[in-house]
Symmetry: C2
């Protein structure tokens, strides 16, 4: 059974893309077949996985509006292992306004993904969807297509400010569009041990979400932020580094959890 | 003449809110009358300026949909000096879908701001608009209401990936909605001298935008990230710190520039 996971947080710059890419790389490193869907118009995940995504290359936008199928646009990443990516391109920036009047506009991604995964030739253990920093129609499409939400939380002051909105949006999706959706995993990231604030945020998250938060915390390290400039995950860029080890541990901790889903 | 400046970048977590708050505080510290408009549904700028913004308190959402005037919702900040804020609240999260069918939907903010500033009792030197991490209708409203865009760029790898989209959106706004809009200022921020990547990003931005980029760079410092947890700007939280001095220098460098606007 394929685990479909939406990596979301409307707060910007909290490590959604970094987590998507490095979890995907860690899971592929362990032998899993992994698909990353880049649902962010900026295309950072496509870049980090070494996949060209300029405007003429069809990607998830063309799939959502029905001009291409998922199988047409999927590309292998530059990472070792079975790690594939559906890139995004600049046209995705206009998608939310374009799909607003479409029939079942929240189900566009789910429909194409279900069709794709029902093909026995396309078997994947994980699908990770990298979301943009908003709770608009693209993220809602991810929430409807997924069974799980993976929420990266930066260990900094604004981290918890948007939680109420996120949980509120999830509740509405669960009530009307996808009852099976669950906030399965919270990852504490960019933890800087020099500041007491990081510990305070971590403690608060653990107190409020003891079941969801992973024991493994991702430290803030320069190597993690430099890896995408080489078009690689931290796992393949510097496998012995603290960042790579932490991301592998966190990914395997999530993999080991099997939940109600 | 009031300088109306939109602080924007669709990339998340690059320091839009931190720059809005600390520029506003630095300008107020120098004696200017400053208004911050929080156009981000998360309300981080409202929080950093010590302003309550839960759902029952009317803010910029109620102003945009015509239920309140700017003068009704404006609040003094906890900062020293003449620094005021129009807070955002959770209802702003639904605003983009709600205003999509309205007449002149891109001009809603401009209309209320022009009316407000035409009242002789309400004189301000600066209006700073803190934008959410997207190029949707809220940011477009800011681009139409402003004469200038202040673009914070984080000195990290993904920094330049979204520039084409941002400039493309600005060009369309200049062509059809606000010919006077200009990218007046670029601020390099979160500069971490431990990584060669930071210098590479800074050099690339300087090469491409020599006129717009400020000479002053903001370093990544723990004190800057901790200031909002005290509900203060870095200027009032730790005025002698490297972060405070850099933000003051950068704000005064921008103030000294008078452009075609
Ligand atoms: N553990 C880490 N240590 C150091 N830097 C990190 C870490 N995780 C992420 N970063 C850096 O922080 C920045 C933000 O991360 P990233 O782009 O993954 O966040 P995001 O949530 O996907 O952003 P957006 O909201 O724009 O989609 C990037 O420059 C990234 O390289
Ligand atoms: N110079 C700096 N040094 C250290 N930390 C910083 C600096 N500037 C910003 N930060 C921290 O980085 C994080 C992101 O900054 P901020 O929230 O201002 O970005 P933003 O662009 O407004 O994010 P969003 O896209 O969610 O609106 C915050 O936790 C902030 O405290
Ligand atoms: Mg991202
Ligand atoms: Mg912000």
């Amino acid at each position: 059974r394929t685990r479909v996971i939406s990596v979301s947080n409307q707060k910007g710059g909290v490590g959604k893309t970094t987590t998507t890419v490095n979890f995907a790389a860690a899971l592929a490193h362990a032998g899993a077949r992994v698909l990353v869907i880049d649902l962010d118009p900026q295309g950072n995940a496509s870049t980090a996985l070494g996949i060209d995504h300029h405007g003429d290359i069809p990607g998830i936008y063309e799939v959502l509006i029905g001009e291409a199928s998922l199988a047409d646009v999927i590309k292998p990443s530059t990472e070792p292992g079975a790690l594939f990516c559906v890139p995004s391109n600049i046209h995705l920036a206009g998608a939310e306004i374009e799909i607003i009047d479409r029939e079942r506009r929240e189900f566009l991604l789910r429909a194409v993904l279900e069709k794709f995964l029902s093909d026995p030739k396309q078997s994947f253990h994980y699908v990770l969807i990298d979301c943009p920093p908003s709770l608009g129609l693209l993220t809602i499409n991810a929430f409807v297509a997924a069974q799980e939400v993976l929420l990266p939380i930066q260990c900094e002051y604004y981290a918890l400010e948007g939680m109420a909105q996120l949980l509120d949006t999830m509740r509405r999706i669960q009530a009307h569009l996808n009852p099976g959706l669950t906030l399965s995993t919270i990852l504490l990231t960019m933890f800087d041990s020099r500041t007491r604030l990081a510990q305070e945020v971590a403690d608060e998250v653990r107190n409020n979400f003891p079941r969801e938060v992973l024991a493994t915390i991702i430290p803030r390290t320069v190597r993690v932020s430099e890896a995408p400039s080489f078009g690689r995950s931290i796992i393949s860029h510097d496998p012995g580094s603290l960042g790579a080890v932490s991301y592998m541990e966190a990914a395997y901790e999530m993999a080991a959890r099997t939940g109600p889903w």
